[in-house]
Amino acid sequence: TPRAGSQCPACGGPALDVESQRELLLDLAKRSILDKLHLSQRPALSRPVSRAALSTALQHLHGPPQGTLPEDNRGQECEIISFAKTGLSNINQTHLDFHFSDRTAGGMEVQQASLMFFVQLPLNATKTLKVRVLVLSPHDTNLTLATQHLLEVDASGWYQLPLGPEAQAACSRGHLTLKLVPEGQVTQSSVILAEAVHRPFIMAQVRVGGKHRVRRR
């Protein structure tokens, strides 16, 4: 109530002046958003994403059909876009690391995942290029081959590769390593681009905290 010193009509306590009421409401808004996102505090951004990479990625985001809110026992559903950290790459192969922070105690379950990467073919390319995508899983201290996909590339541009259960399980565990190996045409530079604008990324449909929830009767 704007009159300082009067009584709060709802709880009878001393009324707050307008400024302290605003502070209280802003704090409440912050807390309610962080609670619903299962965060204890706002994230400190480790590696800002360039606006070009952001706008490219957002063009591929397609939310769940509007109006389909998660049913009680399905946990909260969301979409994640994870940009690659390009590790030990060279012109013959590109090493990609993806990290998914575990967002709740109830864990997260990747239901669908696909890799997006950009291929720049040499101008004088005459024939189709094949790109082998290796899904690696940690085994002791090494990385072993879990599965692989072969993609035919006949023009420069973005390519989407749906990833199978092994890669989805690695994403659910929080860390996925891929290796892209172009086959056939040898070029003087890597055909898989990974600089800011063409940074490879993964799009995943994820269910958060849905695995262990008791089904409500």
Binding site: A10, P70, E79, I80
Partner: protein
């Protein structure tokens, strides 16, 4: 539902917009630019108990109960001003690994208030 205006003391919906730039969250929340943290406030005297502002039949039923039980003074706890309609908040934000997360948080925005 009724929106709070001026010095109304009856149960109504108070609009309150949180601008993410103003609280310094615009760097990690990509969309939207703010959050309508509306809330319900005001009093619910017994003659408007059950007046959700939407389905008056519920209100009539409650009034008849009060008349039938002449519960005028004895209704324990009275009636409270509560949300009667809410909608989800869609958020697009960065997590600590700079992944982009798109999620719908159900029941985050109060659309209407009424008396329980």
């Amino acid at each position: 539902g009724i929106d709070c205006q001026g010095r109304s003391r009856m149960c109504c919906r108070q609009e309150f917009f949180v601008d993410f730039r103003e609280i310094g969250w615009h760097d990690w929340i990509i969309q939207p630019e703010g959050y309508a943290m509306n809330f319900c406030t005001g009093q619910c005297p017994l003659h408007v108990a059950g007046m959700p502002g939407i389905a008056a039949s519920f209100h009539t039923a409650v009034l008849n109960l009060l008349k039938a039980n002449t519960a005028a003074g004895s209704a324990a706890g009275g009636s409270c001003c509560v949300p009667t309609a809410r909608r989800p908040l869609s958020l697009l934000y960065y997590d600590k690994d700079s992944n982009i997360i798109k999620t719908d948080i159900p029941d985050m925005v109060v659309e209407a208030c009424g008396c329980s």
